[in-house]
């Protein structure tokens, strides 16, 4: 509200209308005569009814604040009438504005009781406000257009690089805790699925088998006696023995005894198994 919109500013007046196919469309239709075939061009050149309205005001070097509603409405209607004949669908928004102008005009022409006059606002006020705001925004649009634009005025600079070859493929990390948790979850799952007792029995031998294989993984050769832990009692020894038999049966380990009554050794089966040809 601080910036009064000045009417007779030739600089501003020449700016807004823009170009129709390269031709400046400024004061050309001075007498409002528009050749019918040019109408479409003119329609294209206005970005809307406010644009046209502003053009008409500026062309007459009139002040928006003191909007001379009668001549402007008349001129505006002449434009709209022509549009109606030719390009009705394009003119829809213009018709709304025409109706608004007509309403303001009629309200201004009608005499009003003096009491009402004080309270009621100038019927032009809302239109004036919108025109002022529109004019400000058109100024903003102008500024935007003048700002340096990427791809028009400046270009982003890039350099090639050989650095992509140094990108390492990172593999997911796991912690021991996660591994242990996953194991207990897998077991819990198994508990739900298998009959309790059968499961237990089966696991104990298999667990012992794994332990023997584990031991053989660390050391190629174990004394037979090392496979048994006396503290486990008879049952433990039996489980260990069953595990050894199972492993032998599955041809995972060899049992070696050089001489009769000499120490029995358990060895890992041929390491050839580790090779893909196995």
């Amino acid at each position: 509200m601080s910036a009064p919109v000045s009417g007779p500013n030739p600089q501003q007046q020449s700016l807004p209308l823009g170009f129709v196919r390269g031709e400046p469309l400024l004061d050309k239709p001075e007498d409002l005569y528009i050749p019918p075939d040019a109408l479409e061009l003119i329609l294209d050149s206005f970005s809307g009814p406010m644009d046209l309205l502003l053009y008409l005001i500026r062309r007459q070097k009139l002040d928006i604040i003191d909007l001379p509603i009668l001549p402007i409405t008349r001129q505006y209607m002449e434009y709209v009438d022509m549009m109606k004949n030719l390009k009705l669908e394009l003119a829809a928004d213009y018709l709304v504005m025409a109706a608004m102008l007509a309403e303001i005009k009629s309200r201004m022409l009608l005499p009003r009781p003096p009491a009402e006059q004080d309270e009621e606002l100038d019927p032009r006020a809302e239109l004036v406000r919108r025109l002022q705001e529109y004019e400000a925004i058109r100024e903003g649009a102008q500024y935007l257009d003048e700002l340096p634009q990427t791809g028009r005025d400046n270009f982003v600079a890039h350099s090639a690089t050989d650095a992509r070859q140094y990108v390492e493929q990172t593999l997911p990390d796991i912690t021991l805790a996660e591994l242990a948790l996953a194991f207990s979850q897998a077991l819990a799952q198994a508990e739900l699925q298998h009959h309790h007792q059968v499961h237990r029995e089966k696991l104990s031998t298999r667990a012992r088998m794994s332990r023997i294989m584990d031991m053989l993984q660390q050391r190629q050769r174990l004394r037979f006696a090392e496979l048994f832990d006396v503290s486990e009692g008879k049952q433990g020894v039996v489980v260990s023995f069953l595990a050894v038999l199972e492993l032998v049966k599955e041809a995972l380990i060899d049992i070696v005894q050089v001489d009769a009554f000499s120490e029995i050794h358990v060895t890992n089966r041929d390491p050839v198994y580790a090779e893909p040809t196995a």
Binding site: S47, D93, P148, V156
Partner: protein
């Protein structure tokens, strides 16, 4: 002697840091903020202050060159000197896009009066805003929906994005040239005007 050596090492370090920052900015696909640069320089143990000084030095080095260091909303990037735009754009067959008056006005309304609804835009421009135009602005990532106005229909509120500022080589909205403040609505109080202006500043 010792201090000379130390100065030498510092110089080396500084030069190498400059090289790194420069190289990273030239290969990054997007502008990089100081924070992003610091992240990439974790191993080099660079302070924000040091980085600022390096960026200043680089900017000075490129002052008279064909490309320059430019700070935009989302960070730093190298871009060509503005006055070379004409020559460089000729490298490409296609002409740079020219935006219609209608699109520029819509964009200006969103930029200067954000957050704003499509209804607000239509009221000021006196014309219905086509869905195609809003789609263009959204697809270009210049504009985004930041919320809804709590009135019947809950219309979407639009605001501009960092990409919008980047495109126009702006750091923030306050760099937009000022335009007259919106006049108060005939029936409303002056409150409206002030709120709108404040919100616009606070948004980015």
């Amino acid at each position: 002697m010792k201090s000379m050596l130390r100065t030498g090492i510092l110089f080396m370090q500084n030069q190498q840091l400059k090289q790194i920052v420069e190289a990273i900015l030239f290969v990054a696909e997007q502008p990089l903020s100081e924070t992003q640069l610091l992240e990439h320089l974790q191993d080099q143990k660079v302070s924000r202050k040091q980085l600022s000084a390096i960026l200043d030095e680089i900017a000075a080095d490129y002052q008279e060159r064909g490309v320059q260091l430019q700070q935009v909303a989302s960070g730093y990037r190298f871009q060509t000197r503005p006055e070379l735009g004409g020559i460089i754009s000729r490298l490409w067959q296609e002409k740079p896009p020219r935006y219609s008056q209608a699109l520029l006005e819509t964009l200006a309304l969103i930029a200067y009066r954000q957050p704003i609804t499509r209804g607000d835009i239509e009221e000021i421009r006196g014309v219905s805003v086509s869905s195609q135009m809003m789609k263009t602005l959204l697809e270009r990532n210049w504009v985004k929906v930041v919320g809804h106005r709590e009135v019947p229909g809950r219309p979407q509120l639009y605001a501009t994005t960092a990409e919008f500022l980047d495109y126009f080589s702006l750091q923030d909205l306050s760099e937009l040239p000022a335009i007259p403040a919106p006049a108060e609505k005939a029936k409303d109080t002056g409150q409206t005007t002030q709120t709108t202006a404040e919100t616009a500043t606070a948004t980015e």
